[in-house]
Subunit: 697 residues, 2 copies
């Protein structure tokens, strides 16, 4: 009897007046407006204070921490300052309700009123649930966080990911995000189970708390927050690799944690309330995890590719930036909805959709739309993020069923610390065995310390606060978020400078290191020798070549035309799939445009590859390339200097090698029937030695 | 017992499983996502087709009409194509419910489930209300239109209003919008009352239909739609005055209609169900109308001014466009919420807030934020507008309680036609008595014909569809909107060219006319002599002077510094209120920037005052000014060439007149202690004869 309304015919005592109902609806609407207004005012106040902080270069408190403080203050005022007169009238009725359906029809004197299920109300306090009407009114439906506030934040993270550094460290990021999060969840889960057992022994536990609840808690507090990391690291200009590791981890982290927690939820009902260990249920959970994650990933990528195709085919759309932006926005949003409708995870789909959009669609947009989309998602992200954090502050006082248990809280803090340590240190050790560019111990300490918990943890924990266990989790999670954002967030700056002030020095060193690829660079603290040649896992290399040779030309207007990259036999097909714009060699690299965009907004500088420096290296390197350089190094080169990939590719085509040095993928032979504009021999810009810009050096 | 939850303890038959509830909530969420996805897909389709239309320059169907057609198609598919299996289980219970409270707590086996009132369900079909679950799911809460979709549309209209032409025709616009709408509502109400009486006589009426219902119907269908008018007229490049009249009327129209309809609602309950004429209730309604309208207006203006003040004081906010844009957005939104919380009309407040923001705050924003805010509201407007129109199409088939009554529909079409005629022709005649620049009969015909009904009419009619009368109104309103958008909207282009092709020719004539202010210009059709010197009502002139002398310098960084405009005695006060930036004479006139912005978006050209032409006139005129020109003409001049107002004002200060020619306001005397940068005698740019740009001519 899924979700059909149950008809509740009621014998009436008094006839309801139509007007009175209308009045009450109006009154309710008025109050909703007033409550929302409180949050808008909070946000306004936060913005003004943020500005003051930015203006005075005050850095110890991040804007999200600030939003939380304001939220706390308002929460205190609402809790203790505002007294709403109690005028209850509890109409207690005897009727037989079979179930709690999603929709309820109440028959009042022949009129049918429709009621929708809002959720279960805490029964701990019995009749007191209606007490603080005002506080209850301020409480949002938890699904609002999941369906309205998180998607723009996550999409923005994916859209603004610095893909060059991200892809260079992809292996390590995936290790931290997947294995690390799973390890962390289990460690936290086990520690908490010990803690709960102890609490049971001393009689401190007021309700059920199963092992799956512990694991669930582990999953939700293992997600580190990309937002806070992004903001702090951006302002401090830390090492790009550290930045990429932290940001990449925390973005994927969220995706892993959300799917992991829902898989644990899927494990629970199978255990028919015994909540004991069950191997088949465990495997089933794991299957759900993999299925949901890969399904959401595929869906997000598919929508992104579809948007790229649409904007690729409808080239004249570029003349109408408004339509283009609207289309982009709608397609990205539909990813979320589609995933939710297919019982996938919308947030994960949106993350990968954002990354795909940035990689392909962004290149097809008009410059105006590129700005518009970036600014739009930046604004949405900013508003959503600050809203969540100020709500977090508010909820500490406005939430009605807090369960603060000192033992549990202490246990949770220890567990979170241990879980993070079990994620970072062992994995870093293992990764360093394979990495040529080692992750230094100071980097590991920073990653350990700066694992802040934020919006995702909050959203996951507020989603379900029906049971005693979940309420205790929610209260504890709130404290963990407060602590990490204020203490760890505020302490990151001193921490970074304490860690040998390595970071700013390292940035400089590294940025030079980029240009001398084969040199061994000694980092300022003198303890490490780091080779900056990037490790790139072979599956990634295959993908990169495939992407650059087929996908980019097929989906975007940038990159080499398909006619140049496809083998000769596919000539006619390639010509009909290649747009005329591709021949024009769109030189605005997406990578740099995106980075620059961020730079102007947040004062994010990191390492900017300035034109002359890049060209110098390219030149050097290309001379080496003619002497028989391996393709792996050429790939590094392309990753580092994305905007010049065409030139490099041109060189490769100029000098046909009889032994293609790629280990797995064979280089396509030079096209036998070159199209008019892509002939590398006739195009002066593709010959590195006759390039006028090159001659400048 | 306002809106407190009623506790409904139910004796339970079976124990509800926790998991089953969760499953059902998930299922419901999945369906909601799928339904929203339908609309997103509709919008995407609309955008792609709009692009195709724009690309092929197909103009007979406007994009909103297109969105409606797609909505219709999807509605037909949902209605007849999708079959949802019926698996009802109507649990009928006997319980005594006193009322229909906003929140209902249902006690199911010790668990409390919270239900919120969604609204009354139509009782006409009895138990069949649950039939078409799918269709019901697609139906949005009508308040969504009012609280989410309308505000951005109306704000955008206010924000993008071309204030120069608007203020020049302010008197006429106010007459059409206020008097015209009231006349139209009453005419339509009377005609409909006749129609309803006739229907009663022939037994065609299936329910109650009171005179107040007729008046209500008159009020909701009297609002013409700014969106459609804006789009069509923009593309056709019609006469600027006609454009200003139509657009200004339809923007204010909406505000008047919404307040008028709620006033009629306030009249109703006073008549204790007899619905007869009652003079005191009538006066009360009128008082409500005036109070709500002026209150909302004041509130909107107040928030706008506050935003201007904040952005004026926090000048360093300009360095952070993101913060600035967020602040702007939040303040504008809070206007709406504040008005709703104060039981005013949010939509009206937002309209005037938009106008104030455009007039003051816009000047204080950084150029980056100016672009961002414009683009943001443009996008929101675009999405909201197309969403409403496609929903309109959908609702023709998905709405469950349509009442199509042929007699009523025919009567309504006649009434709408008569009402519009009673608005335009008599008022134009009266206005022409006072106007120097007459409203030609061809203009009147165009205004008559292009009075399309759109989003506001729809939102007002869908808001309450509980009674038979309201359902019939809703169905009829839908048909009226369809007819006007498709037939009148599509026919506007041929209509304009049929009306003597005067419009494009007139545009050219008029644009020249601007530069020869005192000449009589003969319009191409040869029948009218029009003097382009604008009528400006004296209250408006007072306000304009006050605004320019005190408000603009106080609230914005553009315009002359306060120290130059305030009398000498206020010197110290003026100096402390004037920012350093004001002295720099910010020359980017808001007026032109806004216009240019629109021009690039919509291909809106209208009359652009090209630089050389403007300067010529200015030059001529300033020579005249030295010979004792009246201030009224100077005001015209300033209105027409806003960007040069500083130069003109400089001239006025250069030549102290012993007899200030303003009829009502005295010109402030030249400041005795001029600040360093605003001294008109030392600033070469304020002297028209030494201006290097001037010497070019």
């Amino acid at each position: 009897f899924s979700n059909h309304p149950v008809l509740l015919s009621a014998a009436l005592n008094t006839a309801m007046d139509n007007v009175a109902t209308e009045r009450r609806a109006e009154e309710s609407h008025r109050q909703d407006s007033a409550n929302l207004l409180i949050f808008i005012m909070l946000l306004t106040l936060t913005i003004l204070t943020i500005w003051l902080f930015k203006h005075r270069r005050f850095r110890f408190l991040h804007e999200t921490g600030l939003a939380m403080i304001y939220g706390l203050l308002v929460g205190v005022i609402l809790r203790f300052g505002v007294h709403v007169p109690r005028n209850m009238n509890n109409v207690t009725m005897n009727c037989s309700v079979n179930a709690s359906p999603a929709t309820l029809l109440v028959n009042v004197s022949g009129r049918f009123y429709e009621y929708t299920l809002k959720g279960e109300v805490s029964t701990v306090k019995g009749h007191d649930v209606q007490d603080d009407e005002m506080l209850r009114k301020v409480t949002f439906d938890p699904e609002v966080f999941f369906n309205i506030l998180l998607p723009p934040i996550i999409f923005h993270a994916g859209y603004s990911l610095k893909r060059r550094h991200f892809f260079r460290n992809l292996g390590s990021i995936l290790a931290y995000a997947f294995m690390g999060t799973v390890i962390s969840s289990f460690v936290i889960g086990l520690v908490m189970y010990g803690c709960v057992t102890l609490m049971k022994a001393v009689g401190q536990l007021g309700g059920d708390f199963f092992f799956t609840d512990c694991l669930f808690f582990g999953a939700i507090v293992s997600a580190t927050d990309p937002v806070t990391v992004l903001a702090i690291f951006n302002e401090l200009k830390v090492d790009v690799d550290l930045y990429a590791l932290m940001f990449g981890e925390s973005v994927l982290n969220d995706a892993v944690a959300i799917v992991l927690s829902s898989s644990i939820g899927a494990y629970q009902p199978a255990g028919d309330n015994s909540h004991t260990f069950d191997a088949t249920a465990m495997i089933k959970s794991f299957g759900v995890f993999l299925g949901v994650f890969s399904g959401s990933l595929a869906l997000g990528v598919a929508t992104g590719v579809m948007t790229a195709l649409i904007s690729f085919c409808f080239t004249k759309l570029r003349d109408f930036p408004l339509l283009e932006t609207a289309l982009f926005f709608l397609m990205s949003w539909s990813t979320f909805l589609l995933a939710e409708a297919c019982e996938m995870t919308g947030v994960v789909a949106v993350l990968f959709c954002g990354m795909t959009q940035a990689h392909y669609t962004f290149n097809n947009l008009s410059p105006d739309s590129q700005d518009r989309t970036k600014q739009l998602f930046e604004l949405l992200n900013f508003l959503a993020e600050n809203f969540i954090f100020s709500y977090m502050g508010l909820t500490l006082f406005s939430f009605q069923s807090h369960v603060f248990n000192p033992l549990f809280i202490i246990g949770a803090f220890i567990a979170v610390f241990l879980g993070r340590a079990a994620n970072i240190y062992p994995l870093s050790f293992l990764l360093n065995l394979g990495r040529k560019n080692k992750i230094g111990s100071n980097f590991q300490h920073v990653m350990m310390f700066a694992g802040l918990r934020g919006a995702m943890t909050f959203a996951l924990s507020i989603r379900d606060t029906a049971t005693y266990a979940r309420q205790m989790m929610f209260s504890t999670t709130l404290l963990i978020v407060f602590f990490t954002v204020w203490v760890c967030g505020g302490g990151t700056t001193p921490m970074l400078s304490f860690m040998n002030c390595g970071c700013t020095a390292m940035v400089l060193q590294k940025s030079h290191a980029h240009f001398y690829v084969f040199e061994q660079v000694t980092v300022s603290d003198g303890t490490q020798h780091r080779n900056t040649k990037h490790e790139s896992a072979w599956p990634f290399r295959i993908w990169y070549n495939f992407d650059n040779t087929y996908l980019k030309p097929l989906l975007t207007h940038s990159g080499p035309p398909l006619t140049a990259t496809l083998p000769a036999c596919c000539g006619p097909l390639a010509r009909c799939l290649t747009s005329t714009q591709a021949y024009e060699h769109n030189d605005d690299s997406d990578e740099l445009v995106l980075n620059d965009g961020n730079a102007t907004m947040y004062g994010d500088v990191t390492v900017s590859t300035d034109a002359s420096g890049t060209l110098t290296t390219n030149h050097k390197h290309l001379s080496a390339s003619t002497m028989g350089i391996t393709s792996e190094e050429a790939l590094d080169q392309e990753l580092a200097f994305g905007e010049h990939e065409l030139v490099i590719r041109g060189t490769r085509l100029v000098l046909p090698m009889d032994d293609p040095p790629e280990p797995t993928v064979t280089l396509p032979p030079p096209p036998t029937s070159p199209p008019p504009f892509s002939d590398p021999f006739s195009d002066p810009f593709s010959d590195p030695f006759s390039d006028p810009r090159r001659n400048r050096l």
